[in-house]
Symmetry: C2
C-alpha cells in the first residue's frame, strides 16, 4: 500500500478496500465479509438515544489524545449526557489526499483502543478522500447509539429553582491544552487534555433517579455555554460562585495572560450536573468516588428569575455571564 | 445574521445558536428548547440498522439534486439495502468559512424537504466551521437508524449459485451527470442525477422474504463494485449480460467518448438485487410497478465458481469485470 492517501483510496474500488483492510478493519474488529452498507444489531425495547458530531480539531495529535480518541469520547459523552448506556458508534472519515497512511493508522488505532477499552464497538463507517488543499488532514464524524433506561429523563426543562449545580472536575483543560500547543505557550507544568469517556461516571448518578435533573458535557463554548443553554431551556437563573469553580492554576494563569475566560474554554472530560438540593451532597460523593470525578465540586444553584447566568465573583460582586460570542478557540474539537 | 459563514458560527456560542435557529431548526422542525446533545426516540424491540456516510460531492448543486438531498437519500438507501425501515437520520455539517448563508439555507431546505416528504425526521445534528481553504464549501455526514423486520436478512453471504441478478433501472446516471457537469460536456439530452430514496421500492420486495438474497445500492464504484463485493462475500461467480443492462443512450455515448465504463459509474437511485430463480419474475414485476423501478431488468445470474464477475458482451464473448481501480470520478458523492 502507498505511504500516503491517494484519491483512489476514496473511489469505492480496489484501493478503498485495501485501505479498509489495512487501516480500519483490524482496529475496529471487522472483516470484509461482514462489512455491508449498514450494521444490524439487536437492541432491547426502549428509548434509543442518538447523537452525531463532526471533529475538525487542529492539530490532530495533542497531549492526552488525538482526533480519534476525541471523536470517540465526544460522542460517548453526548450519549452519557442524556443518561444513555452507549451501545455502538459509527465513524466516517473525510481524508485529505496526501495524508500519511501512518498518521491515519495511529488515529484509527487510538479510536479502536477506546472501543475495546469501553466495550462500545465501532459498527459502521465510511471513508471519503478529497483533493489536497480541500480539507485539513482529517475530519471524523462519529454517531453514537445508546439505550436510555425507562426511569431516566435528563431533559434540561426539568431544572427547577433551588436545584444545585455541580461540575465533575477542573474546567478548561482541553481548551487551554490546545491553545497552549498552538501558540507554543509554556506556563509551568504543561496541561493535558481531559479527553475521556464519562458514561461510567454519569452512570453512578443513576440511583438518584429523578433528583438528577440534567447532565451535560461542557465541550465547545465551555461551562458558560452549557449554563446559558440551561437558562434558556428552563427559564431560570443559573448562579455560580467563582471561588467554587475548580480551575487548574496553570489554566487560570494562562487565561489571565491571554485575556481568555476559563468559563468559555472547551472541556472533553467534564460533566455539569443539576441536582435537587436534598441529593446534592450524595451526588457530589458519588462523583468523587470515581477517579474521573475526584475534583467534582458544587459550584452554584438555580434561582427563579430571568433566563440568565450570574457569577458571584471572588470579591463578592455579581456579573452576568453571557452566551459566548465570536470565536473563542476555533477548531477545538 | 451575516451573509457568509464566519468562524464564530462554529464556536458553540451565540453565533452558533443563531445559525441553528436561522438555518437548521426551521427546516428540520426542531426548536432550541428541544435540542440537546442527543435525541431520544422510542423504538420497537427488534433489530436495529445503523449506517453512516460522509458526502463531499463537488459541485454542491447538480441537475436532479444537491448535497443535502444526496446526503439524505444516500443514507436512507443504505438502510433500505439491509431491508430496514428508516426511522430517523442525523446530519453533521462541516462548513468552510465564507460559504454564503443562502447556499447553506438552500441545502438545509432540500434535506428538510426530503425528511418531510418521506416522514423520516432529522433528529440530531452538528455544525462545525473550518477556516477558508481548509474545506471545500460544505461536507455533510448523515447517519441513519432503521428497524429490520425479524424475517428479513439481506446478508450477501446468502447469495447462491442459480440466483438471478436484477437492477432497478438505468445505470450510471448520477456519475455521468456529475462528470458532464464538471467537464462542460453536452451529448444531446442532458442527464439528470437519479438521486432518490429507495426504501419504498425495496419494501415492495419484502413479501418475497427469503427468496430475496440481498440488495445493494450501487453508488461509488457502480454496479461493477457491488457485484465484485458480492462475489467476494459469497465466493460465487456473478455473470452479467451486457445486452440486458439498462443504460441511457446519452450515458453510453458519453462514456464511449471519454473512455469510461458505465459499470463503474456511481448511481444514487438504483438497487441491485439477487433473488432465488423461482421468484425472479415476481421480483421484476414488483419493481416495475413502482415509478422508481420502471426500467428494472434481469441482468444476469450467479454461478458456482471462483469469486469473480464475468460479463457476456453484446458480441457473445466473455470478459472479467475487475474491482474498479484508481479513481473513476472523484468526489462523486
Amino acid at each position: 500500500m502507498a505511504d500516503r492517501i491517494l484519491l483512489a483510496h476514496g473511489s469505492g474500488g480496489k484501493a478503498t478496500l485495501d485501505l479498509l483492510r489495512e487501516v480500519f478493519y483490524p482496529e475496529f474488529g471487522l472483516t470484509a465479509a461482514e462489512a455491508g452498507d449498514a450494521a444490524v444489531l439487536r437492541a432491547a425495547a426502549g428509548r434509543l438515544a442518538i447523537t452525531t458530531d463532526s471533529f475538525v480539531i487542529t492539530p490532530l495529535f495533542f497531549p492526552g489524545g488525538d482526533i480519534g480518541k476525541l471523536a470517540f469520547c465526544g460522542t460517548v459523552n453526548d450519549l452519557a449526557a442524556v443518561g444513555a448506556e452507549p451501545v455502538a458508534i459509527t465513524a466516517a472519515f473525510i481524508i485529505e489526499e496526501g495524508l500519511e497512511v501512518e498518521v491515519l493508522k495511529k488515529i484509527a488505532k487510538s479510536l479502536g483502543e477506546m472501543a475495546r477499552a469501553t466495550g462500545i464497538p465501532v459498527v459502521a463507517g465510511d471513508t471519503k478522500v478529497v483533493e489536497k488543499g480541500k480539507a485539513d488532514g482529517l475530519f471524523i464524524t462519529t454517531t453514537g447509539l445508546g439505550i436510555v433506561p425507562e426511569d431516566i429523563d435528563y431533559n434540561p426543562a426539568r431544572i427547577k429553582p433551588g436545584d444545585v449545580l455541580l461540575v465533575s472536575g477542573t474546567i478548561g483543560d482541553h481548551g487551554w491544552c490546545i491553545m497552549a500547543l498552538r501558540e507554543g505557550i509554556d506556563v509551568g507544568t504543561p496541561v493535558t487534555s481531559d479527553c475521556r469517556p464519562l458514561h461510567r461516571l454519569v452512570g453512578r448518578l443513576a440511583p438518584l433517579r429523578g433528583a438528577v435533573r440534567t447532565v451535560r458535557d461542557a465541550t465547545r463554548g465551555g461551562l458558560g455555554a452549557v449554563l446559558n443553554e440551561w437558562a434558556l431551556q428552563s427559564g431560570a437563573t443559573m448562579i455560580i460562585r467563582e471561588a467554587k469553580i475548580p480551575v487548574r492554576e496553570e489554566v487560570r494563569g494562562g487565561c489571565r495572560l491571554l485575556g481568555l475566560d476559563p468559563l468559555y474554554l472547551a472541556n472533553e472530560g467534564k460533566m455539569v450536573v443539576a441536582v435537587a438540593p436534598e441529593k446534592a451532597e450524595e451526588a457530589l460523593t458519588l462523583l468523587r468516588e470515581d477517579p474521573d470525578g475526584k475534583d467534582a465540586a458544587i459550584i452554584g444553584e438555580v434561582a427563579a428569575g430571568p433566563a440568565r447566568v450570574v457569577m458571584v465573583t471572588e470579591w463578592g460582586t455579581e456579573r452576568i455571564v453571557p452566551l459566548p460570542r465570536g470565536e473563542i478557540v476555533p477548531r477545538i474539537c
